[in-house]
């Protein structure tokens, strides 16, 4: 569904949710829940789609964003940079009920982008001399050492946009952009929750941030 189709990309929330399956790896946009598609997250909870691996910058709050999935115990493994704002995440982690993989935020962003742009990986100085090094190849370039970081993909990406046109082109608002444009490139199925859906051709080609070809389905937020 990535390109421009005869079929419409704008679907019902029910239709979109029917494509998300138990046990999948799901990327969710947002930073402390700003830029998180809450309607889609709520749908996962209603349908109790569990055993998920969730990739998000953070687990937000107990009553907001990805944090709600933690509280509802639908996450098997969380991959992100920060869990400190949601005490439930730490509790489940320490109880051995939730696996947590912590990644420096910039490395997380670029690992997702790497998957999207077809890199085999990239070299970063971030994490050198820390536990982040563990299990990673070190490569020296002109006397400086870097860690080789690998791409990170998902089965599904759930994104939040301010505006979507009918061909899937997206525009974001303020701090709600964060990981959304990166995740749009790095998942097999990309579902967008948009505050506003506008006709094809009503966005200026220069103001579009995410090209519509990355987007499979659009749901009104």
């Amino acid at each position: 569904m990535k390109g421009w189709f005869r079929l419409k990309k704008v679907v019902s929330r029910e239709e979109a949710l029917s494509h998300i399956k138990e046990g999948q790896t799901i990327m969710i946009g947002g930073f402390l829940a700003v830029g998180t598609p809450e309607t889609l997250v709520d749908g996962i909870i209603e349908k109790r789609i569990g055993n998920l691996t969730v990739i998000n910058n953070d687990t937000a709050f107990v009553d907001k964003g990805t944090g709600k999935l933690v509280v509802n115990r639908l996450i098997k493994k969380f991959i992100g940079s920060h869990i400190g704002t949601n005490p439930e995440t730490g509790k489940q982690m320490h109880a051995g009920e939730l696996e947590v993989e912590l990644i420096p935020q910039g490395t997380l962003a670029e690992r997702i982008r790497s998957a999207g742009v077809g890199f085999g990986g990239f070299l970063t100085p971030t994490g050198l001399g820390t536990v982040v090094e563990k299990g990673k190849q070190k490569i020296e370039i002109n006397g400086k050492t870097y860690l080789l970081e690998l791409p990170l993909r998902a089965d599904v990406a759930l994104l939040k946009a301010a505006k979507a046109d009918e061909s899937g082109n997206l525009i974001y608002y303020r701090a709600a952009r964060n990981f959304n444009p990166l995740m749009a490139m790095a998942a097999d199925l990309v579902i967008v929750e948009a505050d506003e859906i506008v006709p094809k051709g009503s966005l200026d080609p220069d103001e579009i941030v995410t090209p519509g070809i990355f987007v499979d389905m659009i749901v009104k937020g």
């Binding site: 390109g3 421009w4 005869r6 998957a115 742009v117 077809g118 082109n169 080609p205 090209p211 519509g212």
Partner: protein, 217 residues
């Protein structure tokens, strides 16, 4: 009878599926856009930085900052969008282009492609071709079957410097359609009036002949 180039680009157009993101190379591949069936909606990618590449502008409506990768004045269709070169090639390398159609100087039975230089003579540079051939999901070579002097261009092994190794999937010429497989080149279709002997005689690589060969038209 249909002109050779028209036969080629018409057949290539029929490989495109509804929803495909397609990059058409400079020259003959550009013409493919004119023959896409009406019920097939594709998005054309212009590697200099936009999606939604449209036809040439009407006289008086030219915009000097809207060109395709060949430098021709074009248009951007409703729903199109612009981006920088990293995004443009991220789209290519990331596997978001379904089909890349390119010309070739040489192509061989392993799917190797040479189309960017002739040492000591022609060194235009690879431009975006190496990324396109390495990155697109399906690579279709669209070219005339032989050189102007009648020499084969479909070889056992490319002799010119490669654009990419083992990335070509389909070869379409005015004589037929060939598919690159691990076993070699399989002759899938023949153009009207062309025999197996004729196409083989103009092809250096040994063609694999299946029991049923389709018709190219």
């Amino acid at each position: 009878m249909t002109a050779p180039r028209e036969l080629i680009v018409k057949r290539v157009a029929r490989f495109l599926k509804d929803g495909d993101v397609v990059n058409l190379g400079i020259g003959m591949p550009t013409l493919v856009a004119n023959y896409v069936p009406e019920d097939v909606h594709i998005v054309l990618h212009s590697e200099n930085g936009f999606l939604g590449l449209g036809p040439n502008p009407k006289p008086g409506e030219e915009d000097p900052q809207v060109i395709n990768a060949g430098g021709q004045l074009v248009t951007i269709l409703p729903g199109g969008c612009c981006f920088d070169s990293a995004m443009s090639f991220g789209i290519i390398r990331g596997g978001h282009v379904n089909v890349s159609v390119l010309g070739a100087l040489e192509v061989d039975e392993e799917g190797n492609l040479a189309n960017w230089m002739v040492p000591g003579k022609l060194v235009p540079g690879m431009g975006g071709a190496m990324d396109l051939v390495a990155g697109a999901k399906t690579v279709i070579v669209a070219m005339e079957h032989t050189t102007k002097n009648g020499e084969p261009k479909i070889l056992k092994k490319c002799r010119l410097p490669l654009t990419a190794a083992k990335e070509v999937n389909i070869i379409v010429t005015e004589l037929g359609v060939m598919e690159v497989t691990p076993e070699g080149l399989v002759l899938k279709e023949l153009a009207p009036g062309v025999t197996v002997d004729e196409i083989q005689s103009k092809t250096e690589a040994k063609l694999i002949i299946p029991e049923v060969i389709g018709s190219m038209e």
